[in-house]
Symmetry: none
Subunit: 201 residues, 4 copies
DNA sequence: GATGAATGAGCGTTCATTCAT
DNA sequence: TATGAATGAACGCTCATTCAT
């Protein structure tokens, strides 16, 4: 039986601590406002350790982006249809609500810093495209199986749904106390019914 | 006819040059990435002039926010209905598309820095609320005048429309080359027809 | 009868206002801590006016020093003996106590900035020397007139008296609440009697 | 035997170099005239090193004051009487002459900047009080042991002695070439004899 | 490999002074 | 002559990163 060397193990743990500290801080204070000193402090490591584990501040972000992309891919896989129209749509959307909630720091970073770091913009766009494709696939399934009638504007309706979800996420994270934003739960409850009934007309 | 004293005029001009330089730079590099040296260079003034005209870097942003809020108010007033349903909605939305296009820098700044500067978050929210109220008033007019039948979910439909417009704006400005975003023109063409036809059903 | 041109008059007034503002501020905040802006503000003049009336910040100090030296000279003249030993000494010393009290700002400036501005050191020293000479003359008078017997150590006793007066002034101005310093009145009352009785032994 | 870790040693050495550079410069140019760039240059360290070792420019002064106060305390302990009246007084005074000579920079700083930094005023006052108490104790000893007869005005005589010493120190440091100031040696020689003979009368 | 000391570039800001009207 | 706008040098300080042990 092989025992994994503890140092390699520790390395991973330290990497994660640094990345998480960075994500939390940058989510609150922005990339520039997140100093290596604060990261080290919050991660509980020496400041120079950051530079051996990553190539520098940018390196942490790069690693964070990669981890994010991996997790976007994983999220994609976790969806399966049931045939219940409302439940399936609800499920499809809440997967992304939950995903963004779980990754709110990096989502906020991506929103803010994408002009400096194009990969961040690409990650956001990928998140939207995957959501759109998933919904498209779902609706086509539902139509194929007769749960829904064919639509003229299906792609546009879905694009709009994705856009609305995006706004909902952005506004909730960026301005948590605003009046125009309602809870994700309410958002789902009120909209999906309406959306489906529109499609059914 | 009174000729305006040139010195007072110059003062305004320099203020504007500094504010515009700041807005452009901060739109690209963020608040922290926009140094007073860069601002001075881009505005073509001495760095210390900035500090005589504004109380500091924050002061420029404050002034920019105030100017933005004033212009939000002006935009609100510039709308009048005609009775042609599609044209009126189109007009109402394009006013905000145009407004954001004209103020893209400050809109981007607001999107990114609102956690550091709460006024920015408030400005964004106000822009959304005004848009929503304007559309509500418009639709109520159209219904009253018989151009449109009464709606169960009017407020929600309008909220969604505002959210979609917001996403459209955010994505267009933040990721201009993305595939999910279409031109404002196309967005209007395709959506309004659909939206109206939904309402008419 | 000649009427003095008001502009020349004003010039003098402005000069004085600037010098006084400078003296007050520098007495509190030191030379470097006294900015031309603060001076202008306190004097109620435009900042650039300072540079036309004086050659710059140093120029104000130079003028202040000259005024101070003139006033030291005037103070010297105002003393006359009466023959009453204690009263005369008391009078001689209180002239300087009063003088320093009246010029406390410039005295403090001189104390602090003399390494940067040698004239200030010279002014302080002159104040001490004049005081010493005045006391020497007084004592020689008193001895000559038989009010006091000849002394071995007259010059040293007087030097010491001057030094004590100087300490008293420095400590009173620099640390007004200190316990080692007593009021000028008490200082006079207690010391002179003692000093004279020592001389009389 | 334990060898002290060199890094801890180095740290102290750098601290001292910075503090000494600061003291020298501030003794000559005042607190404001002593820039962190000059300090770094004179101490032979990088400017930012100053900020890692101290919390800022004020921090250096604070540390200097603490070191000064510690050394005042040490000086206090180093005095013991012998019974020889003149020698003991001479010794008591020269301890302070020497102390001030050794700490002339911080003494000058204290004299000049005490209005901005109250601790400096307190340090000066403490130096005076300790000196006074030491002399009081000494004289009471001498009287008790019959070397000196009881005095009416002992406390005042001693206060005066302390004030004279203070002036002597201030003038010597601030205006080294002035005529009213004599060497510490001469000052001692001439005064103590006189002072003692006054007391003995 | 891990630490903590050092570094230099750059930051926002203030200042005394000059310029232009 | 008087004003207020402009200037450039310098300031205290922070930062990401490198060096030395």
């Amino acid at each position: 039986m092989v025992s994994i060397g503890s140092s390699m193990m520790d390395n991973h743990v330290v990497d994660q601590k640094i990345m998480d500290a960075f994500a939390n801080l940058a989510g609150s204070y922005g990339y520039k406002g997140t100093t290596t000193r604060k990261i080290a402090q919050q991660a509980g490591v020496n400041e120079s350790t950051i530079f051996r584990h990553f190539s520098g501040k940018q390196g942490i972000l790069k690693a964070l982006i990669e981890r994010y992309q991996d997790e976007i891919n994983k999220a994609e896989l976790s969806f399966h249809t049931t045939g219940n129209v409302e439940m399936d749509i609800r499920h499809a959307i809440s997967i992304y609500q939950y995903f963004i909630e779980q990754h709110k720091s990096i989502f906020l970073i991506a929103l803010r810093e994408s002009s400096q770091f194009p990969e961040l913009g690409q990650a956001i766009q990928r998140l939207l495209l995957i959501q759109k494709e998933m919904l498209l696939k779902l609706f086509r399934n539902l139509i194929e199986q007769g749960h829904l009638s064919a639509q003229n504007n299906l792609e546009m309706e879905i694009s709009n749904l994705v856009l609305m979800n995006f706004s909902q996420a952005v506004l909730k994270l960026a301005y948590p106390n605003t009046s125009i934003v309602i809870s994700d739960q309410d958002y789902l409850d009120k909209n999906i019914q309406n959306f489906v009934s529109n499609l059914k007309k």
